[in-house]
Amino acid sequence: MPRIACLYLPLFPLAARLRSEPELIREALAVVEGNGNAARVVAATRLARAAGLRPGLTLPQARALCPKLVARPRDADCERAAQEALLEVAEAFSPRVEDAGEGIAYLDADGIERHYPGPSPELEMGRALMNAAEAASLPARAGIASSKLAARVAAGLPDPPVIVPAGEEAAFLSPLPLQRLAPEVDVAETLERWGVRSVGDFARLPPSRIASRLGRLGRELHSTARGVDPRPLIPREPPPAFHEGMSLEWPLVALEPFLFVGRAALDRLCQRLESRGFACQRLELEMRLEPDGFQSRSVVLPAPTRDVKTLLTLIRLELEARPPGAPVAGFTFVAHPDRPREAQLTLYGPAALSPDKLASTLARLFALLGPDRVGSPRPVDGHRPERFALVDFSPPPPPEARREPRAGRGLLAVRVLRPPVEIEVLTNGAPEEPEAAPVEVRAAPHTEEAKRPRVEGPVKVASGPWGLEEDWWADDPAGRDYWDVEIAGRGLYRIYRERATGAWYADGIYD
């Protein structure tokens, strides 16, 4: 007989709202549904209930009972995030989890109790489920039984977790009031007239008579009352992305308050990613604008990360660069998950960089400088020294043992001037002659204004020319005559003459 555990979040709209705004937990808070004075209370905190608030009261009635009432509308974004978080808690225990909506999750608990040694393993498992939900800011209750219905009813009882032994579902349900089975209104009224109060009373009625009097709904309810629940567990497909968001009480027009609220949402999002062993590879921000509008932003990360500070910085920079242009009434962060980079520690080799730290540093560098200014350099095909390519920095794992540094080769490096500095050159021949050697270099007139290094002076020694021809078939061919020149008191330069234009440039310093 299969064992099914149920995680049940009582007063789900309220629990979802408190998860997003935990500072309201000590307030008299009511979650209402509807608009204006017609809004009705759906759920309320204990403080508000103590003042007399009940579901179904209108907002003015509720305020009359409790003048300090804090009212919040039902928020689909909050509830979706809370439901996803509840399912993720369940998925941490079992791969087969059913999403029953509205704060209910079923999971296949068959065999999981073996992980909890002790006199009552299922009870321990139930406690572990509740503790895990509590860690995710969800005050869920747990019940374990052999059918979904019995597990759901058990989860709704006080003093959780409640365990229903296998095969004893009917006996478990029998003393409970009939309302626990949540019958349809007309069926419930009929049974009330018959004087049927408890589940057991109903279960003892003959099935054939029930079917003829109450129809299909009555027959199904009767089976349920006898502990027969034929509905199988229907596992859900894990979603491709993680959502976290909320509707704001009033629209936000400034960035800082938005980031303050957004930080809490990102905190929760990263906790959920961490609980599943994921990191964020791409973060999307969907904003609902006032009075009517929708905008989204996307931030691609150089490496998967779950560092809240980094994600928040990237969102800040994105919004500073492209403000939404209207007050933000609600938002949702969508994290596209990926496996975080992993590093194998080594005992004898050099320490590897922490993948998490590296990912967040790269993301912050991207935000600071732009993606075209950070990366691992690579040469590209061709001879033009100013050209290069940047690829994602993903260093290979360090060697198992530290290598001794090789003896230095003592080579002279060229510092590339990027872009090349325009110069004027006097040669010892006709300017159009490629082999006419430079004898004096002068700075171009606009060098000062462009804040480029000044390259000027008489040439002591010149060595060249070395021809460079590249991409003669392309739109931007390169034909250059290179010279190494030593300028008195100024150092060694690499200069060239463009064959097409005859212009001279300095593109490197031997340094």
């Binding site: 922490s354 350099p377 020294p385 530290r402 100024r490 150092g491």
Partner: protein, 288 residues
Amino acid sequence: MAEPLTQTILEKPMHAPAALSRLRSALPESLRAHLRSARELDRDLRESAGEGAFPTAVPVLDRLLDGGLPRGQLVELVGARASGRFSILLAALAAATGTGEAAALVDLGDGLDPAAAAALGIDLERLLWVRPARLKEALAATEMLLASGFPLVALDLGLPPLRGGRGVESSWLRLARTARAHDAALLVGSPYRVSGTAAAAVLKANRGRAAWRGGGVSPCLLDGFSARVELEKCRGRLPGQSEEIRLLVEDLPRPALPPRQPARPAAVPERRERQEQVVRPFLRAASA
């Protein structure tokens, strides 16, 4: 009656090494080894922690810095144009990446040629190249890199005029503190002194002297250059030491540098013949 030795030392001010020597001579043989001055103690501690130093594989630099770039310290390498500063910086990166460590180059001057860097021995896969546009960005990026665990970060400020000035001293102190906190070596290459009191060691590379091969009727070819590197400041050591560094254009065994050539009119070599003889380093690296 002879006065007690300790009393003599306390009452009569004398040069510390002399006092130490006198005190040491007065102690029994077994205790002498345990008596050390603060400077000796500091040196011993640094040596015992000394797996720390990053050998730069530039023998001159390693000698001047007692084994290499010290971890947890800021070392500033000052050098004008054509002083060998950039070559030394890249050699340090080549040595670090060659041992399997990751390293970062914050290149304010945007002067790295990846093909030439690979030819110099840098393992490009282990090198993170950051190209800030201003000094403020460069400092912020360097701090992030140090804090993220890179064991060696090289910051090259490029050529004057520096974009963003020298930076304030507090930012350099902050970098030095970050390097110390994360036990990372920070090498700053700058055209003039920028880091103030934050640097644990300051080296100055003077402008190099070029060496040419050939001349006269034969083609002239750049052979390399030599520069003098001087220790301007080093905590716990006396400054003033200097050594000559010799950098070659190609990695080939060569004779000693010829004497400095007098200035002469530029030589005009025969082009076809030169192309057969010479392969420029960056061309070779790019085509390899």
